[in-house]
Assembly symmetry: C2
Homo-oligomer: 124 residues x 2
């Protein structure tokens, strides 16, 4: 069974979930090569739609995502990657997860503290 | 803050996670109207790329997804919806989750039993 990369012009969504806590940490996109590298290296690797290139998460920050389990859905067009996240957080804004804005009525609100100082990791 | 529907031609991925167990149940796509209906009705509603129309999950099976919490990520281009899933499973193949195929070496393998008989729910 092959993954179906055809529905989004060669990409599929990859949901990254903390293998221990179950928290969804981020969603990225993988093309065929990013998926292959993820499997071969054991570190989650994505295709950046904005930069048009492959990037291994953590290549600059050191906050790599160690693959623990990969599953796909009934249409073979999405993958779920359970990981051990190295470092305090995956979000470039300093949070543990990229999903920190919760809908509260009609507003999105952040109700948690940063896990690290993004300026210290990524610079300005 | 508005969600960014521009990156996938008016759609964004919606990760559906069981609010109790933390299991990722499915990934669908929402357009602006599907998201608005999800918020207004309290039931997860998607845009079907294959049928080109809105569909409320469970409209035929009764297996609706009751919204418990909605969050978005740092790019505002993905939503995470925590739900209470009504019925035994969300997958039209009869499983609790759509993510039942796990990568085992080079093969995808299913290692869990169906939660219900899909023929009894969806017919043939």
């Amino acid at each position: 069974m092959q993954l179906d990369f055809s529905k989004l012009d060669g990409l599929l969504p990859a949901v990254i979930q903390d293998a221990q806590s179950g928290r969804v940490l981020m969603v990225g996109f993988m093309n065929d090569e990013a998926f292959r590298r993820t499997v071969e290296t054991g570190y989650a690797t994505f295709y950046s739609r904005s930069r048009n290139k492959l990037w291994m998460k953590g290549e600059s920050s050191g906050h790599r995502l160690v693959v623990k389990e990969i599953s796909t859905d009934c249409d073979n067009d999405t993958v779920l990657v359970k990981v051990e996240a190295l470092g305090p957080g995956v979000c470039h804004e300093g949070y543990e997860s990229c999903f920190v804005r919760k809908l509260d009525g009609k507003e999105w609100k952040i109700n948690e503290a940063r896990a690290y100082d993004p300026n210290a990791v990524y610079g300005n």
